[in-house]
Amino acid sequence: MSEVIFAYETSGEEMTLNMGPQHPSTHGVIRFIIKTDGEIMHTAIPDVGYLHRSIEGIAEKCTYEGFMPYTDRVDYVCAMTANHAWAAAVEKLADIKVPERGEYLRVITDELNRISSHAIGVGAMAMDIGATTPFMYILREREYVNDLLEMICGARLTYNYHRVGGVGWDMPTGWRDKCLRWLDHFEPIIDEYNRLICLNELFIKRLANLAVVTGEEAISYGMVGPNLRASGVDFDVRRDAPYSVYGKFQFDVPIGKGEMGTVGDCWDRYYVRIEEWKQSVRILRQAFDQIEKTEKDFWNHPKKLKPKGDAYARVEAARGDMGCYVVGDGTANAYRARFRTGSFNSMKVIQDKSRGLMVADLVALIASLDIVAPEIDR
């Protein structure tokens, strides 16, 4: 396809196409101003800001603990890791030690939520490519995760489960067994899902060699998480800057290998997420093994939380390295809070890589970057 595009001379007649903010496949309220010549795009300029809710401003207006529910809204598809990032940053600021069981519960909920977030990502991508059924299949699995998370914290989407100094509740009785049973069920589902869509010839043809981001480019764009790893950069916060109890687990970091095309193409970005499912399952099994040996205490509730100074904590969210920077001035509220998220950096990638793609490819590119609109704007 690429030689067709490069041999193509623009006629000078451009059509401006307004994709979004209300469009089925912009994954939220994002607008793209597309300049096209027929099907072939000259550029797609992302116009962000439609979903800005001043979350960082709100952080300055409420207490450290009171801000926890708002972090759910930073990235509502993977709320646990945002919880975790805030809690970790505040704990670092106030120098609070988290009980071991609390750390394990955080990791377990993080990984469960990562699986469900990737389910949305790959399912929505298949749907954007035109296959409806895989979305339904994988959303059924996500429902099970939602059920499990509902059992532990009472919410299905915005959990508000992590606390400064631990987690809100311990596991309910029997929850561990249910989780393990679900993991046994989920592992063969990954293979089934691969047979259903990932290795489908049409699907590969649509995604392979599309919008290739090389490793160097990915680093210079500041891409993080699965998108970075899909470009062949072997970096994972969980392994390379271990936080919580991630240092105690054995797991691999899947990177893009360019099996179907070039390293860093859309299919790699897609498949890295599938591989991450398997690693999440591995981590979960180890965590469930090790949590048995921990003490009962799961929440070191700080009596007084008026820290001073600044702290930066980073966690590996579903969309990559999520950083949280907090400045405390000795009052109950933060002086300044800042979230660093993955989707925002992807916007520039879309603008640069969209040149010469087709309108249908833009949809695939957006989906492959697994963009979640609130994470861009916050």
Binding site: A131, T133, D147, W182, F186, R206, M358, A360
Partner: protein
């Protein structure tokens, strides 16, 4: 299944062999051989004509006047250009078998016209005939007579048909027969005489039963002689009946109805007209010939319906013909109109129902495939959901965007609608049930379906929305491109059948799968898939649903439509599934042919017609199911990939297949034909089915493991 020569032979062999051997291993071997032979026998019995006869085929087996009938030899036997006659052994013309002149149009084909002579012979044998007859073609080549006979063991079941509805209508248009009808109804036999019409005969006892029973009688040729009619003899005609025959055309046709009690006397007789009267005028119009009666009758007025000016013995008089019945002269346009309205209702009314039911079916299948429940609220098990959806759409506001081109915008859905509904005209649901068996049926299907693309471009462009425009342009490129491979893939079938008429195409296939065109040779087998995939593209179905790709173009060409106009697009899309299935079923999968039932016997029985319809429906629904299945499995192509697939692969392949089919027709010896069919059937039909079933069984065995709720 008409002959069992091989089966009989094999049974004899087996009984002999059985008495000589006792050992079980030999028995097993023998059983295998016998069953193989039996299988062969069944295959041979289900297949076409016998290999030994010179005349292999004869069609159409249903003959009407003006038909062109083709006699086919089993090889290149005929000499083109030599004087040729075709003789039916069992149809007599007088005392000798009927012989009609034919002409050899190819080395394997003789053509003759079903002309009046043939029809007359039919008529004299009692009208609608199903005759089992052998056929002999005679040619005189360089003074030497050559005879080619059909197999004596396998006579052709020829169905000689009376005139069908449209021919009746044609006659009604005929002024002379209309006039003749009126004269007969009045009970008068007249002939032209100087100064007027001479009354030759007046029917005093009007024989209503006899009169109306004549309408069911076969059309008789004008040249029936008194001897042939056997006047006065038992079983023959009465003199009056003979006289009432229209001696210039066919049997008189009555185009009126009696709504009041008929009287026993003829109208003219009761009014006082007698033999020998000279009718000068009717209602003041001078009568020069009997035909002029046709324009006079209006069927209105009071008690006296016609004033007849008469000269009796030189004296003029006026006789009023009283009103006993009410003859209605139905205008010919009304008859055509009513016929068309009836046919349109019969065909068009079920179409939205078909579309609606397929919508619900698709939703149910998709729910089934996606572990959902699907529609189950409206009607029994949700099967009336389409009605609720349709009503909702109809009650919505019909919105035309301010910037749209209102006329094109409004017209576009109807074009799609028309283009699709016209296809139903030529779909052969059974041998009887077809609106019009056009001799260009296939061409008709291909051309009217192209109206869809006009509609989609019109809708996309006139909406004045960029998304609609993109959808419309995609669709134009797509449908126009894929029409080519689809048409060329069908060309091979037209060549095999030797006709574009859909009924003939079905008739030239057999009931058993290896006699379908899909398994006729390897080329048609691939052509089926080329057609099927191209039809998916033409119908905007996944994986070619680019014109309405909801994740890219919001809703594509129909983004701006609402209400009833919008509802037409999905309706057309789903009815199109049915049409794809019907066309594929007709051309490749044997249409309404029932396995093991001969064409003639299926054509003769109403129940078999119904069974054939159900067989056809089953084939259609199978294909519809596959299309739906594909939709809910596969992702979508990109525009350039779709175009590459068409122009770089499908079009060259389809041309190659067409040429391959032609070469097969040309070179394949008849004895190899059956073998090719069977091999294609086994390799192309049975093997994939076996593999598929194995795969399904494997997946089923894993079902429990994957589907149980792990949290329960």
């Amino acid at each position: 299944m008409t002959r069992h020569p091989i089966r009989g032979a094999s049974l004899r062999c087996s009984s002999l062999a059985y008495s000589r051997t006792r050992r079980s291993s030999r028995l097993a071997l023998l059983a295998a051989r016998v069953s193989g032979l039996l299988l062969l026998a069944v295959l041979a019995a289900c297949s076409g004509g016998p290999p030994d006869a010179a005349i292999r085929d004869f069609r159409p087996l249903q003959i009407e006047r003006d038909d062109k009938v083709i006699v086919e030899a089993s090889g290149d036997l005929f000499t083109v250009g030599a004087p040729t006659t075709v003789t039916f052994d069992k149809i007599k013309s007088g005392a000798v078998p009927l012989t009609v002149p034919g002409r050899a149009v190819a080395r394997s084909r003789v053509l003759f016209d079903a002309d009046r002579a043939l029809e007359r012979a039919i008529a004299l044998q009692g009208g609608h005939l199903v005759v089992k007859t052998g056929i002999t073609v005679e040619q005189t080549v360089e003074g030497q007579k050559k005879e080619f006979k059909s197999a004596a063991s396998n006579p052709f079941e020829v169905d000689l048909f009376p005139h069908s509805l449209h021919k009746v209508a044609q006659k009604l248009a005929d002024r002379a027969s209309r006039a003749a009808g009126l004269w007969t109804w009045l009970g008068l036999t007249v002939e032209a005489a100087p100064g007027g019409l001479l009354v030759k005969d007046v029917v005093t006892k009007f024989d209503h039963e006899g009169f109306f029973s004549r309408f069911d009688a076969p059309p008789l040729d004008g040249k029936v002689t008194a001897a042939e009619a056997r006047i006065g003899q038992p079983g023959g005609m009465t003199e009056g009946e003979f006289a009432r025959l229209d001696h210039d055309g066919d049997q008189v046709i009555a185009d009126y109805e009696i709504v009041e009690e008929p009287v026993s006397d003829g109208i003219a007789a009761s009014a006082g007209l007698a033999r020998g009267d000279l009718i000068v005028s009717v209602d003041g119009k001078a009568m020069a010939s009997a035909d002029e009666m046709a324009g006079l009758w209006k069927g209105s007025g009071g008690e006296i319906i016609l004033q007849v000016g008469v000269q009796r013995g030189g004296k003029p008089a006026t006789i009023g013909l009283p009103r006993f019945g009410r003859p209605t002269e139905i205008p010919i346009w009304l008859i055509f109109g009513l016929c068309m309205a009836a046919a349109a209702t019969l065909i068009a009314l079920p179409v939205p129902v078909i579309g609606g039911l397929i919508v619900v079916w698709e939703r149910k299948i998709s729910a089934w495939m996606q572990s959902r429940v699907g529609p189950n609220r409206v009607g029994p098990n949700g099967w009336l959901q389409w009605l609720a959806d349709g009503l909702k759409l109809i009650m919505k506001e019909d919105l035309v965007p301010a910037a749209a081109d209102p006329y094109l915008f409004k017209a576009s859905p109807y074009l799609a609608f028309i283009g699709l509904f016209l296809v139903f005209m030529v779909l052969p649901f059974t041998g009887w049930f077809i609106v019009a068996d056009l001799n260009i049926g296939l061409l008709f299907i291909l051309s009217v379906t192209s109206l869809m693309v006009v509609s989609i471009i019109m809708g996309g462009w006139s909406s004045n929305s960029k998304w609609s425009l993109l959808g419309g342009m995609r669709s134009a490129a797509q449908i126009i491109s894929y029409e080519l491979p689809a048409s060329v893939a069908l060309l091979g079938i037209a060549a095999l059948a030797g006709s574009l008429s859909t009924e003939t195409i079905v008739g030239s296939q057999g009931g058993a799968p290896w006699n379908w065109f899909i398994f006729r040779n390897p080329f048609t087998f691939i052509a089926f898939f080329i057609y099927f995939i191209s039809a998916l593209a033409e119908g905007n179905r996944t994986p070619f649903d680019l014109p309405e790709a909801e994740s890219e173009l919001v809703s594509g060409y129909n983004t701006e439509y609402s209400g009833f106009r919008f509802s037409l697009f999905p309706l057309v899309e789903w009815v199109n599934l049915f049409v794809i299935g019907a066309v594929a079923g007709t051309l490749f999968l044997g249409g309404w042919r029932i396995p093991g039932v001969s064409l003639a016997s299926q054509d003769a029985s109403g129940w078999l017609q119904l069974a054939g319809f159900l067989v056809f429906l089953f084939k259609i629904l199978t294909i519809v199911f596959v299309i739906i299945w594909i939709r809910w499995t596969l992702p979508r192509f990109r525009v350039d990939q779709m175009m590459n697939l068409c122009w770089k692969f499908f079009i060259p392949i389809s041309f190659a297949l067409f040429i391959g089919t032609l070469v097969f027709i040309w070179l394949l010896p008849p004895w190899l034909d059956m073998a090719v069919r069977i091999v294609t059937f086994l390799v192309g039909g049975c093997a994939p089915t076996y593999i598929f079933i194995k795969k399904v069984q494997y997946n089923r065995s894993r079902y429990q493991e994957l589907r149980l709720n792990p949290l329960l």
